[in-house]
């Protein structure tokens, strides 16, 4: 990489077709994130947080400008390269957990490793380590429908971190959780950020999440309103 930034956004604009016209979700955004950041895109609904996260996760591409992730421009990646980037370097955590319902907790966490064709014995160890980080080793053989919301989100975190990605993108990770579970989850993420040096990027409008962020980027109507480093953070 040409510099220490793991993600570099340069004059990014994203438009979506609406009827005969376009809706501009992101307008001329330039941002960059370094390794090990614990940052969040904050703002009200419709401000462009999720769109930004999707582009950084190579699930979508910019209409204008560039988004470079791990040194690769997402708009220039083929489907295959884009999938490889997500599989090797990016972990996702969703508001609705998105666990695969017919798989056990173990299978869900193992999934990304199967795609990387990691040998079975090593895979098993990595899955159990990930479940240990989130405190769910006893639930390894449970199915998602047997878990509480907090447990489900912890499984999603384990699934995201099991492959030790450089970047972890979390879209409203606490939206479906109560306060206690939210704090538990956030403390877990904070610990992982410190131990694994994974870059955590959140899209959130939850005050609880904001307390934990080291860097807060406020979006409003698709523009960066503020980009500030938190003075004190919740531990």
């Amino acid at each position: 990489m040409e510099n220490s930034f793991i993600i570099q956004i340069d004059h990014l604009t994203k438009r979506f077709p609406v009827g005969k016209g376009y809706f501009t979700a992101l307008k001329d955004i330039s941002l960059s994130f370094g390794r090990g950041e614990f940052a969040g895109l904050v703002g009200p609904s419709g401000s462009g947080k999720t769109t930004m996260l999707n582009i950084m996760g190579s699930l979508d591409s910019p209409s204008q400008g560039t988004a470079r992730v791990m040194g690769q421009s997402v708009s220039e990646l083929s489907h295959k390269d884009s999938a490889r980037l997500r599989n090797r370097h990016i972990g996702f955590i969703f508001q609705t957990f998105n666990l695969l319902p017919v798989y056990t907790v173990f299978d869900n966490v193992e999934f990304a490793l199967l795609l990387q064709k990691i040998p079975s014995a090593r895979r098993k160890k990595m899955v159990m380590d990930a479940l240990e980080w989130v405190g769910l080793t006893d639930k390894a053989h449970s199915r998602p429908n047997m878990l509480s919301g907090g447990e489900s989100q912890r499984v999603a975190i384990a699934r995201a971190i099991v492959k030790k990605p450089e970047i972890l993108l979390a879209d409203e990770p606490t939206a479906n959780l109560d306060a206690e579970n939210s704090h538990h989850i956030l403390r877990t993420m904070q610990k992982l950020n410190e131990q694994l040096k994974t870059t955590f990027l959140f899209a959130t409008h939850d005050e609880k999440v904001m307390q934990y962020l080291k860097r807060k980027i406020s979006l409003r109507d698709g523009r960066v309103e503020k980009d500030e480093v938190a003075e004190t953070i919740n531990l």
Binding site: N54, F92, Y103, A112, L115
Partner: protein, 386 residues
């Protein structure tokens, strides 16, 4: 391998829906194999019986002979050459002489064909040995006996034209009624000693055709034309093929129902599992890999169906193989069919059925799964209708 593993996990997770599809598809498997097994069994039996009772390993025909035109019999006869005699003695060739005639069973009149055959032949299954017991003995088949209301020992008046074209008549005794599955040697036919028919018609040392054994090697036999089994069994093959075609409609309908169920399940899956599809892509799968999972998932129905079909199909097939299936009503038809048919399940039949069902299931699974390639992963993750 990954696609297969994931597909089976998803299928098992889908529960009853999977088993309903698998059940219908397995039934299609069993019906296809059963029906084709019956047809193949019938085919083998009919060919075997026709060979054994009528055509042997082929026939040498007089060039004027037309088996569908009794009027051709008058001209269709020729002397048996000296080089044929050793083969006739060894039963490698069995000469048959035909003559049109009329019989008068109990005062009624019925057109028949007189067939002369050597009483000591062993090539065909016809019980010609019975012709030796009585000077005026003849053989008829069970169908002929039933239609003419004749029994063993009955006397039967037969009229024919001699070599001068004048009518001649004689009384015969039914020496034996034979039971054969081959109607073409039975209905409207009276079998008698070759020497007697030659004497009656003045066609000494002559025949209309000769039946050949497996030991016969077709060589130039003068005017006699060799007809092989493909030619002689062409009618039988045509009947069996038409039955096969008719049966296909039934099992293709069944297969279509099963495939529609899979197609429907796939459409529903792609529609209902959009968030799951989005998650697969977010976790690092390409869209084509996801298409592969869904396609394998659909076609895995057919693999499970094949396994289920083995569970109840094998005992059923073994039972039918042991007991056969009764076709006693077929006795009154002109089709060569045994009273009991024993199905024949060849490896080719089973493999081709499995391939047919698996390929069809894969195609109908792939068609709806293709939609995934057009999905936007961001919308799929939200479960947004696309």
């Amino acid at each position: 391998m990954l696609a297969l593993k994931l597909a089976f996990k998803n299928l098992m997770g889908a529960g009853l829906r999977t088993w309903l599809n698998v059940g219908v598809l397995s039934f299609a498997f069993v019906v296809i194999i059963f029906y084709n097994g019956m047809i193949d069994g019938w085919n083998r039996q009919a060919r075997h019986d026709t060979r054994g009772w009528e055509v042997g390993a082929g026939q040498l025909w007089h060039p004027e002979y037309d088996r569908y035109d009794p009027f051709s019999f008058e001209e269709a006869h020729a002397e048996l050459s000296p080089d044929m005699q050793p083969l006739i003695k060894r039963d490698v060739l069995v000469p048959v002489l035909l003559e049109q005639a009329t019989m008068y069973p109990q005062g009624r009149m019925q057109g028949v064909v007189l067939k002369g055959i050597r009483a000591d032949q062993k090539l065909l299954k016809l019980p010609t040995g019975a012709l030796k017991s009585k000077d005026d003995g003849v053989l008829i088949g069970k169908r002929m006996a039933r239609s003419a209301r004749l029994q063993t020992g009955d006397r039967l008046l037969v009229r024919w034209r001699d070599k001068n074209g004048t009518f001649d008549a004689r009384e015969f005794t039914i020496a034996r009624i034979f039971d054969s599955n081959v109607p073409t040697i039975d209905n409207g036919q009276i079998w008698l000693s070759l020497e007697r028919l030659q004497e009656m018609t003045g066609k000494v040392n002559e025949a209309t055709y000769l039946v050949a054994s497996d030991a016969y090697e077709p060589t130039d036999k003068g005017i006699w034309e060799f007809k092989d089994l493909d030619y002689l069994l062409a009618d039988l093959d045509a009947i069996i093929q038409s039955k096969k075609g008719g049966g296909m409609i039934g099992y293709i309908l069944l297969l279509i129902i099963a495939l529609l169920a899979i197609f429907d399940t796939q459409v529903l899956s792609v529609f209902r599992r959009q968030r799951e599809i989005g998650t697969y892509i977010a976790l690092g799968m390409t869209r084509w890999q996801v298409v592969k999972i869904f396609t394998v998932e659909g076609s895995a129905h057919s693999i499970l169906a094949a396994l289920l079909a083995t569970v109840y199909g094998i005992p059923l097939f073994l039972y039918l193989d042991h007991t056969g299936l009764s076709f006693s009503m077929a006795e009154n038809t002109d089709i060569t069919i045994a009273d009991t048919i024993y199905p024949y399940y060849s490896l080719g039949l089973i493999v081709s059925t499995v391939v047919l069902v698996v390929v069809s299931a894969t195609v109908v699974s792939y068609l709806p799964a293709r939609k995934i390639t057009k999905m936007k992963p961001t919308d799929a993750l939200k479960g947004k209708l696309q």
